[in-house]
């Protein structure tokens, strides 16, 4: 399978390793295998694969991960520029 790559060095993913308790949840939920378990700690393998879905941060019980998760659809972003509201899938015809 061809691997898709998006823009580099832009994502807002932050990970604080000392806080990690090694539960492994981030490595399970990430749909792009950005996190792997390296012994008793999680580690970031390829930050640029992150699509900022927020699953890792949401499921981290000790808040070692933060990411500015949001809707990545262009029409939602245009709508938010025009209205000043958060981008949301509701703006178009309900599709994302």
């Amino acid at each position: 399978m061809v691997e898709h790559r998006y823009l580099e060095g832009v994502v807002t993913l932050e990970y604080d390793e000392p806080t990690c308790i090694g539960c492994g949840m981030c490595a399970i939920v990430c749909p792009h295998a950005v996190f792997i378990m390296d012994g008793k700690k999680a580690a970031i393998t390829d930050r640029d694969r992150c699509m900022e879905c927020g699953a890792c941060a949401k499921n981290c019980p000790v808040e070692a991960i933060s990411v500015d998760a949001g809707v990545g659809c262009a029409s939602a972003i245009i709508y938010s520029w025009l209205t000043g509201e958060e981008p949301s899938c509701d703006c178009a015809s309900g599709g994302c």
């Binding site: 823009l7 900022e52 990545g72 972003i77 309900g94």
Partner: protein
């Protein structure tokens, strides 16, 4: 349905459903109440005995609902309570689709209703293998893909979302096409406006169908760039096809407008893609939209100029 036609009213009633003849020990699978998702889930586990807990996501699929938070911790917790799930099954485990994870905090679900969240595979088709392997997912089951077929299936989405804007654009092109030495002529509106509409459609096809399908093979990383490349290629082919019969103004208008339209529409496909980050999308939009608008403006001026 998938194309967005009537998709907003396509929901399953939330609650606990049985597939086969589940017992108190059978696994509980959590599903969104988007009918398309629910039907796929039911089909994939048809040979098993399982419970399906359908939660209320307003008829939206798991991934989008999780992003919004309707496929979320509170909804799962309250649905577990409302269906008295702990009286139906003897265990305390929910199998939640992995793509629901952006909306769910597993540790908070456990706190809220006592059930442990186990994330299942990304795709429902892997559920039987996941369950028979003792609820272990392979690496592939955890990865989101975006194959050529998956991208191609999605291509009509942008067109159905855009059709109203397309109609307005057609009207504008028709009116612009009529402007000329006679101030406005209906005959030239038909011929020149009609040609411009064909160019516009070519831009939509280049951005909404060709770019998504050829995505990984197009140069650049930004979708706006990939779309612009496709649009420019299509317009150059068209110009070669007409071999200089168009005149400079029309040729320039064709090249710029087709490239800009294709670029803009391809940028919108980020919303359907499975690997773009919102920060990246916003960045490429800030860079691309001024260029797209400038190209359209110059194209418009060149087109009107060519009418005289």
């Amino acid at each position: 349905m998938r194309w967005g036609l009537g998709r907003n009213h396509y929901a399953v009633t939330p609650g606990l459903y049985a597939v086969g003849t589940p017992s108190a020990e059978s696994p509980v699978l959590v599903s969104a109440n988007y009918k398309l998702s629910f039907d796929i889930l039911r089909r994939e586990v048809a040979k098993l005995d399982v419970w399906v807990l359908v939660i209320d996501t307003k008829g939206i699929n798991v991934w989008c609902a999780a992003g919004k938070g309707t496929f979320g911790t509170d909804e799962i917790t309250s649905r577990v309570m409302a269906t008295k799930l702990s009286e139906v099954v003897s265990h305390k485990e929910l199998i939640v689709p992995q793509l629901g994870a952006p909306g769910i905090a597993a540790h908070e679900v456990k706190k809220g209703c006592g059930f442990k969240v186990t994330y299942g595979p990304v795709r429902a088709e892997d559920l039987p293998a996941f369950l028979s392997a003792g609820k272990q997912a392979t690496t592939d089951m955890r990865r989101v893909t975006f194959s050529t077929l998956e991208r191609f299936i999605l291509t009509p989405v942008e067109i159905t979302i855009l059709w109203k804007k397309i109609l307005w654009a057609m009207l504008v092109l028709f009116l612009l096409g009529g402007i000329g030495p006679d101030i406005f002529s209906l005959t030239t509106a038909w011929s020149r406006g009609g040609n411009a509409i064909v160019v516009g459609f070519a831009g939509v096809i280049a951005g909404a169908v060709i770019t998504p399908t050829l995505l990984p093979w197009l140069p650049g990383k930004a979708f706006a760039l990939k779309g612009a490349v496709t649009g420019a290629a299509v317009s150059l082919l068209a110009l070669i096809g007409f071999s200089g019969q168009l005149g400079f103004g029309n040729a320039l208008a064709t090249l710029l407008a087709l490239t800009a339209v294709s670029s803009f529409i391809a940028m919108n496909f980020t919303g359907s893609s499975t690997y773009t980050s919102p920060t990246g999308v916003e960045l490429e939009m800030r860079q691309a939209i001024p260029l797209q608008l400038a190209a359209l403006l110059v194209a418009g001026v060149a087109f009107i100029w060519a009418g005289f």
